[in-house]
Symmetry: C2
């Protein structure tokens, strides 16, 4: 059955609204205590914050990514807010990526796929750890076929430690990242293009950070057909220039979390307003909206300046 | 601060109660529909099942491991039952391992550690993915120092796909599993022995499956000081003989999930009772208790037969 793939919708949304992925990695500590106190609980404040930001970034974001760890850390209340946040993103008409980085096998992997592709925690696309081997992907790959869902598999992450395992040199001359990438490209190729759409996109993509230009050049060149989820932009030192390399060919979406979520802290007028005790949740989410506008503009400018072909 | 490590308590519990780890990977489908219907919801039935099994295996299990995926698949209700199950294991006086296989970096890893080492989802020990690199372990390693918590890092899992990444041959002649294992041994060595206890045990251990004897020999020989969480026994084809190899030196705990949880299905008299419509939850949990007794006996017999030294 050839349903419309969430990954194709994501790609179309990025073509319409720009390549920015707003990361709702919302820690209650991002909200000033005096604003936090206006809500029944930290979890409720986080929900209001997320809803405000989802509204404020519309038109300047291709999608949102929700990092489940911050919600797990708030217990059951936090997970209820996680579910509400996923719903709010979908209701705003944006694809939602659940950044769950699960990785397990057999019946356990099936349970994770069921948990995050259906029911209260239903997302459009999830992130997956390949460490245990390619059988860890199987349970998730049923879901694109049957329900259009998508997966991003960790390939080359944006943290310095990525050299420890992902970037290991193998005996056959490849790096581990090449072995995993080749497998992902082969899996992605098994899916028929989603012919209903102008820009078909396989429902299996890869996570590739934008922290090192030469790595970005190599991986974009090696896997022209994989859509990328691109972390590391902003807070982690990745640049729009490197992101623009990864946005070529099949394209991708560039995550920014703290750069958007805590944009208010960089506004002198809002810091003054905070000192005066009159900072509101609206001020915070407006600042997030402006930061999304600026990030989108920076990414699109880098794409125009960046050499190399693109089929976006 | 030298608190009593959960890993040391786990090792002591295994010395007293045997090396079996009962895996509460409880899928509602393991419970016959007619028994399931006696409860308000599938999640409530799972909680009763778990509580019954925890009681029934006492004295024959060194610990319990709770696989969070099955509870996530039941939504918020499932996660409440997950929390209650962790509490029931701890109240029974057994160490509880949360099989969460999380793996992330920086603030996100800190959020996961907070989520699973404190609050409603507090466990004694958690399982961790090393794929993103050794900085993925940092946030978790603070917790043994401060609160006695422990981690098991995935090293050589029990699934056939483990050859895809974990068992890759590196350019320097080692396998990836060796690179990760050496790092874990070095991290474990940073912890002072917990002098309050007779059998000190570093709070950093490794997951090593018992599906292949030569791999078990190699890894047990290479990392004599690491305590192992040993999956694959029973349903996945691992044997007590191979497990006994991994139980030498620093020792370990051997997980069995379905072998215990669905033991009732192998009892002719219980299947007859089910046909007669009179199977009860007590019948099911009694069968689990008998299966735990048999598994413990099989593992201890294999340890007696197995050549090689042991310091247990």
């Amino acid at each position: 059955m050839n349903t419309s793939y969430a990954m194709t919708r994501l790609r179309q949304s990025c073509a319409e609204n720009g390549p920015l992925c707003v990361g709702l990695d919302t820690d209650p500590s991002y909200i000033p205590p005096e604003v936090l106190r206006m809500y029944q609980s930290p979890a409720e404040a986080v929900l209001a914050y997320n809803r405000g930001i989802i509204g404020a970034v519309k038109g300047n974001a291709g999608c949102c990514k929700v990092q489940i760890a911050y919600y797990e850390a708030m217990g059951l209340d936090g997970l209820r807010v996680y579910a509400e946040t996923l719903r709010a993103v979908r209701e705003a008409g944006l694809p939602v990526i659940a950044d769950i980085k699960r990785g397990d096998i057999a019946d356990t992997a099936k349970a994770y796929a069921r948990a995050h592709f259906s029911g209260i925690f239903e997302a459009d696309i999830v992130t997956i750890h390949p460490f245990m081997g390619y059988d860890a992907l199987e349970a998730f790959i049923e879901w694109p076929r049957n329900a259009g869902k998508g997966i991003f598999v960790l390939l080359r992450t944006s943290n310095p430690g990525m050299k420890d395992i992902e970037w290991q040199q193998l005996a056959d001359g490849r790096r581990l990242v090449d072995a995993v990438g080749e497998k992902l490209a082969a899996v992605a190729a098994q899916f028929e293009p989603d012919n209903a759409d102008a820009a078909p996109c396989a429902p299996v993509g890869a996570v590739v950070g934008c922290t090192e230009e030469s790595d970005a050049q190599q991986l974009r060149g090696a896997y022209p057909g994989l859509f990328f989820l691109i972390p590391g932009y902003g807070a982690q030192g990745g640049t729009a220039r490197v992101a623009s390399v990864l946005l070529r060919k099949a394209g991708g979406t560039v995550n920014s979390s703290r750069g958007i979520l805590t944009a208010w802290k960089k506004s002198e007028s809002l810091c003054l307003r905070r000192s005066a005790g009159s900072l509101t949740m609206n001020d915070i989410t407006d600042a997030a909206g402006q930061a999304a506008f600026a990030a989108k503009a920076e990414l699109l400018a880098a794409c125009r300046l960046s050499p190399g072909d693109t089929d976006r």
